[in-house]
Symmetry: C2
Subunit: 246 residues, 2 copies
């Protein structure tokens, strides 16, 4: 499986993805699921993928191929983030249709993948899209400033309870990492290392991103302190009234 999470907040964008893939429990590998693109000072975008690995790699392959051969439309030629979402969605839909046609099957869902696309083009607003295997998509808003794909349930409560559109980026990164830490502890199909990218609104700077390995001292400290917070928080909760224990 996979867990990817992306936030579109007042001050910028935050992306975190795990890197574990599995085809059965005895076939576990590390594959990047977070891809950074951009032209410094002009546009920045990140694509995160979840689902069939061949499909996700084919989508990224086609998008890269178009860039390399300067075939239009491509990620650097489209005018708006909306057109970019359409391009990615169309590419995704076509990859799935082609593999299904070749396999002489009507069962598309084995080849499904979901994509998060976030970024900014000079002169326009930052956007974050959740693109479905059918090629259509939805857009993050102030009311719903985050999307998740893959193994999303374990890490959802902390986002639902703490995340708001106005949250500063450094706090949002911590919130996301806790969401991942919770998922990593409860589901072995999501695994380290993690890829993180933080983009500051209107900077049009292409961040390097950071890969967090198991032994990362900051992540380790975060995880340890969060465990302590929860255990202490639990003990500090009011003791149940007697009727709970009768």
């Amino acid at each position: 499986m996979t867990y990817c999470c992306a936030l579109r907040l007042k001050d910028g964008l935050v992306f975190v993805s795990d890197t574990r893939t599995n085809a059965g429990v005895d076939h576990i590998s590390v594959f990047r699921k977070l891809y950074i693109f951009g032209i410094e000072g002009e546009r920045f975008l990140t694509i995160q993928t979840s689902g069939n690995l061949a499909t996700t790699q084919a989508v990224i392959g086609h998008l890269n191929n178009h860039l390399e051969l300067k075939q239009e439309p491509n990620l650097y030629s489209v005018n708006t983030m909306f057109e970019m979402a359409e391009l990615v969605g169309h590419t995704l839909k076509k990859v799935i249709a082609d593999v299904v046609e070749d396999a002489h099957t009507h069962e598309q869902s084995n080849y499904y993948c979901s994509i998060l696309l976030g970024g900014q083009i000079q002169g326009a607003e930052m956007q974050l899209y959740n693109i479905y295997p059918q090629g259509n998509f939805i857009c993050a808003t102030e009311d719903t400033p985050y999307f998740q794909i893959g193994e999303s349930k374990y890490g959802k409560p902390i986002l639902d309870r703490a995340l708001i559109y106005e949250m500063p980026l450094d706090e949002a990164v911590r919130c996301c990492l806790i969401s991942f830490d919770s998922t990593l502890r409860s589901n072995v199909s999501v695994g380290m290392p993690l890829d993180t990218v933080v983009y500051k609104k209107d900077s049009l700077h292409i961040p390097n991103g950071k890969r967090i390995y198991e032994e990362d001292p900051y992540f380790w400290k975060l995880s340890k302190q969060w465990s302590d917070t929860l255990r202490r928080g639990l003990q500090e909760l009011p003791i149940p009234t007697d009727d709970y224990l009768e």
Copy 2:
């Protein structure tokens, strides 16, 4: 959907179930999914159910019917918790087989339900079983002191991080209620009121259990304080190193 959780700890057993059922988003009802049985001073048991509502009610119906007509084996005639798990598993398997036979279909999974059975019989250890639709079952241990059925993922991280076999019952109840609060906030298919039962080891006392409604002042306070704990805990986490934000 449903969320049920049961703990078998050093000092006793804790059971919590929600009560929401849905057949589509426009057909939502309140049904009890936690059933208490027992003979004061001799045996205590609780059954929690998740899945097809007709199946779960048929299982409880048959078990009650056997008790009423004093047909053997029944919940009060079996000698051990193991035999009780066999009886409940057999009843479950038969209910599913009968409905499938009558429907002239081989598709069993539409009628599936899962059951948690916990309790104690005089002179023997407390036990907690997770009974599958196939009628077989597994038993909670000191290593894995809890089971969940239904919509289990949202509420799993807090259990994985905080729950231990030695935890006092009043703290375990708080831990369970937080697990439910997290689930309630992230998934509308799990809903109030909640049914809770706490059983003290070797007491052989049949507890009344407590139903927690939306307006329950204790639960409300717990939920509020937990939100504060998480938000404050998040802010107190170490600030990401610069390389996270570049």
